[in-house]
Symmetry: C2
Subunit: 474 residues, 2 copies
């Protein structure tokens, strides 16, 4: 496929530091990190300011060049990877990586879209505050992408998704005009909530360039435990015990399966189970509070004792130090890495009402085992907000290739259970290009028609991240 060449006026806007056109330098921007997609681009644009973004978008609109906005390129669903088309550019926000302001009076932080999440967390920390968004890719993922995909992660149960952490946005629209919505107001009812439309739009309606984020008082106390539980229902009951005892204290409540923990302890160096014996199911409880003398240790022990008496927890390890806390979290965070080392896997990022999580885990696991005998379900994730990564590991007797050829069958099988339980086929990863085919079946009729109408209204030329989110644009 011959690529078109980039018109010369891009160089006059961006200068030599702002354009990557050498094929080998571009390669990392053309592939997704999971290795599932690779596309083409005339160039990678690296603007340094909102004005440069806007000027680039205006040129693209003028010349009919499609734009693929890209942050840390950590999408699980190919949301930031270009297609194989001759007339498109990747627009990387990586140079717009500044913290513009941290305000502990208003508890807000104003940042550029290319700021890496870990750096945003650190900036809040340096001011004695907390930016609570937390997820596996935090060392690479950028604020613009996290907002564009409405990222979730470990602390959603307490602080909400990226959406709930955002007060204002600056966005470059597909015609190159700029929405100056960088307000830091808790209340602002003045017309349509455009900022909420751009959050989760995966770059198909415009490019987020700056954001005002909420920050919170830092935790003064934490308490973390890994619990062995007899079954999925007991895990949910344990969550409800904590929520009832102190709704505000639960920062994270994660479920892990025995299968998943076995993979982690087998394939990840230094990962060991802090319990005396293997269990079939685990729950990770993380409590935190910003107040003095919160008594979280006593709360943790009290709830666990009651749960043990009721037979809902069979063993538990409480972190006695920050190192032990990190080690417990590592068992959870290394699930994707362990799965990768153990062979091929198919990921299903799904959600159901919280009460239906045990049924989801049981029924989807069973359906997957029936579909592919020997395949190993590795469900794990955010039980407290109904979001389970209902992943499936290849059978040891099967080749990776044969297994991955069944990807769509597997996703369909899981999704059939999810649909029956009133859930969603994408909880926190978004649609990207992986799941556009599912949109018509799940969000068909009036919902999809309204989304298409909005897309056509804001991006009539269809130049903004084509082929993502909405089906049939490819």
């Amino acid at each position: 496929m011959p690529l078109d060449s980039l018109p010369p006026d891009f160089a006059s806007i961006l200068g030599p530091a702002g354009i990557i056109a050498d094929p080998s330098d571009m390669e990392a921007y053309l592939r997704d990190w999971r290795g599932l997609w690779r596309g083409e681009a005339m160039a990678v644009l690296r603007p340094a300011t909102t004005e440069e973004v806007a000027a680039c978008v205006r040129l693209c609109a003028r010349d009919g060049i499609a734009i693929i906005p890209q942050g840390g390129n950590t999408s699980m669903v190919g949301g930031a990877t270009p297609e194989a088309k001759p007339r498109q550019v990747v627009l990387s926000l990586a140079r717009m990586n500044r913290v513009l302001e941290v305000d502990t009076a208003d508890m807000t932080m104003t940042v550029e879209a290319g700021l890496v999440l870990a750096h945003a967390q650190r900036a809040a920390e340096e001011h004695g505050a907390l930016f609570p968004l937390s997820l596996g890719a935090e060392g690479t993922a950028m604020i613009g992408g996290l907002l564009s995909t409405n990222a979730g992660g470990n602390t959603t149960v307490r602080y909400g998704n990226a959406r709930e952490l955002m007060l204002g946005l600056e966005v470059v629209l597909p015609d190159g005009s700029v929405v100056n919505g960088l307000r830091r107001l808790r209340k602002d009812n003045t017309g349509y909530a455009l900022r909420h439309l751009f959050v989760g739009a995966e770059g198909t309606l415009g490019i987020i360039t700056r954001a005002v984020l909420r920050i919170f008082p830092a935790a003064r106390e934490t308490a973390t435990a890994l619990c062995a539980v007899p079954d999925e229902d007991a895990a949910l009951t344990l969550f409800r015990r904590f929520r009832t005892a102190d709704e505000g204290a639960v920062r994270a409540f994660e479920y892990m399966s025995g299968t998943g923990m076995d993979l982690v302890t087998r394939y990840v160096e230094g990962a060991t189970l802090p319990l005396s014996e293997r269990a079939a199911h685990y729950a990770l409880v993380d409590l935190s509070a910003s107040r003095e003398r919160a008594g979280l240790r006593a709360l943790m022990e009290g709830v666990l004792e009651a749960a043990m008496e009721a037979g809902e927890v069979t063993d538990a390890a409480l972190a006695e130090s920050e190192a032990q806390r990190a080690a417990i979290w590592r068992l959870r965070e290394e699930h994707p890495e362990a799965q990768k080392r153990a062979g091929a896997s198919v990921k299903n990022d799904v959600s159901v009402p919280v009460s239906a999580v045990p049924t989801l885990i049981r029924e989807a696991s069973e359906a997957c085992r029936a579909l592919i005998p020997g395949a190993r379900p590795v469900p794990f994730g955010h039980m407290g907000d109904g979001n389970i990564h209902m992943n499936l590991q290849q059978p040891e007797s099967m080749t990776a290739e044969d297994f991955l050829a069944r990807s769509h069958d597997i996703m369909d099988t899981v999704n059939e259970v999810v649909r029956r339980l009133g859930g969603s086929f994408s909880a926190e990863h978004g649609v990207g290009r992986l799941k556009t085919d599912m949109m018509a079946g799940w969000r068909g009729g009036a919902e999809l028609a309204a989304m298409r109408a909005i897309k056509a209204a804001l991006d009539p030329l269809g130049i903004m991240n084509p082929g993502k989110v909405l089906p049939g644009d490819a």
Copy 2:
């Protein structure tokens, strides 16, 4: 103005109980409760089901009849009142007033749009839970209107606006199709967040018919105090003291002026100040917690003691009973009623970053006094989320009519200060028809253009609540 007559097929959809056409019976639907606007309608439609709403909307689309959706008709900005036009109907959601489900496992409540807020609160209470939205009009305002205006109220500082309390919506679009978004998921990233677009759209993009709302564990402990503070800065410092001591405990933090409190104690029977002497400024602190042994009384006393030592609080009354708590809240809630009895007033529902609230109160008060000598600023409201009702009471020497003739000058004067402080001209009341003129100046350029594009995309006939939110439709 001769009204057109309602086509007969509406009657076949709604039956006699579903249509009000008698002029005297219609009157209450044609006026807003503030008495500022009155419009016309061919009829008031009172559908009982989503299907009936959809069928009515389809007929209206077919016949080019404008629709004014109406809940409790408590808008402060004329958002639910028809214009004086010959070809429109009011569509009241009042008959769709059922609680469909309260689920304490998922902590959700599914309701119809015509449910009165107080009834929603009671339904949650009956299940041992809390629906935290709380505001003056709660005995009349309905869920559909509260969501359509993204209502705020007293508890936003802790629980967020109506938007944050909503998980899913069912909406009838302007073509009569139905968006079935009644999901009860904490995480669902599958395309554009349509539900967030309808929240705050004030009925101009569609009609909310049902909603899934979040509920919370009920409070096990509360502590409430009325504090006399020397100035606005001290009030803000007090808020920050409580937030620092226990961010999660502050359910409400309200500011009131000496002038406002004087009006309440003078004009409202039974309203008395529980402090030994009058102050120039007051703060109402309301703490609550769902956990056992939360120690809120000790927290309250500890913070107030420190604030008194620092000279930031000069006197305080702690509620010793539910009756005392209600009496303190009544001093705050009766502000609008007292203002009404004291003569004419101009309301300014504005917001600024929390840190700028003291400056807002001082500078806007001064500017108003300079504009109209003798006029009395009565600022009060939700200091903890930056939202102050920057109201102005007529001078005793001026007629109400002369004073109200200056309404727009007064709003402009307040808004000039608000704009300088990075605030918003409508914090929680919305735009309605009162503030459409301000949209171009405040949200002009790309923002307003994007809003107009969305309106045209979803309501190409312009039949949904015309004349509201967007300027120049009238």
